[in-house]
Symmetry: C2
Subunit: 335 residues, 2 copies
């Protein structure tokens, strides 16, 4: 076993848009797992927009990261040493791990994965939290009906691309909003979205939207917020559903932002809007995982991953989420 363990710490809490100074790479001794713990060597780290919230002091649905302590996120890795009955050295597992080469972690917080069933990285998106987020948000909150129009912001992200493909399976007309021509082409040509708006090239998002959804919007799956959401919310149909999944446009806000007042529109259209985190649906995870794995194996869900090499590049990969760099799931290959 390697004796030294690289870790990325939260160096200081960022204000507004974070930069590299929020992170610090250090080396420490590799920890020994305690009773019921497992030592895991990380293979891939997931970098996710929600982690920005945990870098701030304000309490949200997840506890804030501590300054001077390693960041933690979804990851897949290999068991190096086990003091837990359910795991053996060599097992592949997924769970929350440090941004580090190795983590000593409670065995009960891990889930075993089977490298023969699907590429292990898919446990971090299609067959993992982003996949489940798409699944429960669209199916449990959105409740799509065949023939309805679904609009997805952040459509080329890890969640958005799954939402769109499930919505197509359900017979919906699917319209994506994304931020580059490469993303637009991918969503249209490879994932068969019915229409995609490149909001960065669009002079008037509201007008562009009106052209592609002349009949209005039945479901809005929102990963983004801001002016994109303003435009969509003003085009909702009666009894529309808004699945409030992410607000990446606002994670770096330093004060209350002003925008169009949307409540009057939500009222007159009898709209249902629901914010959620995937944990709200933990009692149904088995069902979600079963369906997602089935669709994955049947080739009904296509996917794309964006892999950055090297633990030391995890901070930049994370910052790239806010620059809109990634198509599909952003991952870091640790070594």
């Amino acid at each position: 076993m390697e004796r030294m363990n690289r870790q990325i710490l939260l160096n200081k809490r960022p204000k507004g848009f974070p930069d590299e100074s929020a992170f610090k790479l250090i080396e420490k001794e590799t920890p020994e797992p305690a009773d019921d713990q497992v030592l895991v060597k990380a293979h891939y780290l997931s970098v996710d927009p929600y982690m920005r919230g945990r870098m701030s002091e304000a309490k949200s649905y997840a506890e804030p990261f501590e300054v001077g302590q390693p960041l933690k996120g979804g990851a897949v890795g290999e068991v190096i040493k086990s003091n837990h009955l359910d795991f053996l050295a060599g097992d592949f597992v997924t769970g929350l791990l440090d941004w580090a080469d190795h983590t000593a972690v409670e065995g009960q917080s891990l889930r075993k994965i089977h490298p023969d069933a699907a590429p292990i990285t898919t446990a971090l998106y299609i067959a993992g939290m982003p996949g489940l987020t798409a699944y429960f948000g669209l199916l449990y909150i959105g409740q799509p009906q065949a023939g309805e129009t679904v609009v997805i912001s952040g459509a080329a992200g890890a969640v958005g691309m799954v939402v769109g493909q499930i919505a197509k399976m359900k017979g919906c007309r699917v319209v994506g909003i994304a931020g580059s021509e490469e993303k637009v082409n991918y969503l249209k040509k490879e994932l068969n979205f019915d229409a995609v708006i490149n909001y960065k090239e669009s002079e008037n998002i509201s007008k562009a939207l009106k052209e592609v959804v002349p009949g209005g919007v039945d479901i809005y799956f929102d990963n983004v917020g801001g002016e994109i959401s303003d435009a969509v919310l003003l085009r909702l149909n009666f009894h529309a559903r808004v699945v409030l999944c992410g607000q990446i446009a606002h994670y770096n806000d330093e004060k209350k932002e002003m925008g169009v007042r949307v409540l009057p529109y939500l009222l007159t259209r009898s709209v249902l809007l629901k914010g959620f985190i995937v944990r709200d649906y933990r009692d149904y995870f088995d069902e979600g995982m079963r369906d997602l794995a089935k669709w994955l194996n049947e080739g009904k869900i296509q996917y794309r991953e964006n892999i950055v090499e090297g633990l030391e590049n995890a901070p930049d990969a994370f910052l790239g989420l806010f620059r809109g760099d990634n198509i599909g799931k952003q991952l870091v290959k640790v070594s």
Copy 2:
């Protein structure tokens, strides 16, 4: 039967805050009821904030009123002449009637009421649409649990006062927001609200709210919108519910209004927000009416009505809703 029939027409569509010029009082011959119609003499008219929406051209959940035609609203009256099998002269009925002395109306659109069971005016609020609106909004969307904190804006209005009393029955802590000391006193002393904020006397509604709901808000029943709602939405608890019932602060808006962006707050607290109109729950009206009538008869729901005399004063009574004149249900006694 009187031959002449006073009617109040929509004279022109108001822009922004309406005034008397939007209305016109005329006299016409009293109509003859056609087959299956009933001629009803109006006793009391209900004036309701939602009618402002129907005075505009924009399509909403109800069709716009037509310029040059009588306004229509909830009313109670007496059958003068019936061509419908279910009604006899002398029956008391409720339904949508013209703002007029007499209306010839399809019998099937009316519901018979029993003057011995409760004052006939209560069919226009506690045992009518405002009561049902309070009932379904609070119980079906809000789903109050004992011990939770419920905040109600427009708390002294026809809907708000019923919401508060049902929430008290369910064991909730009830906080009202209203616009005069008289309203505050009424809600506290006669309806036993736990706390009431006079937003017109409060320098900082957000701070005033923090003082009376230190543990945050579990259910927000919103009749108002605007800055009052901004303050409440920023104090929602995890898994809070927002019952979006009215937005009286915005019914006279001439353009999109700007305000605090609320989606980020709704997201991080996994909030459910639902706009609705009472018609969405029409399949459950019997249940709602049964419970409301029972509570009314048992004295569990107190009520207050504000009666203006004379059909000619209906426009001013309607305008008074936006000035915040009324405590409880605003009615017009036709003659």
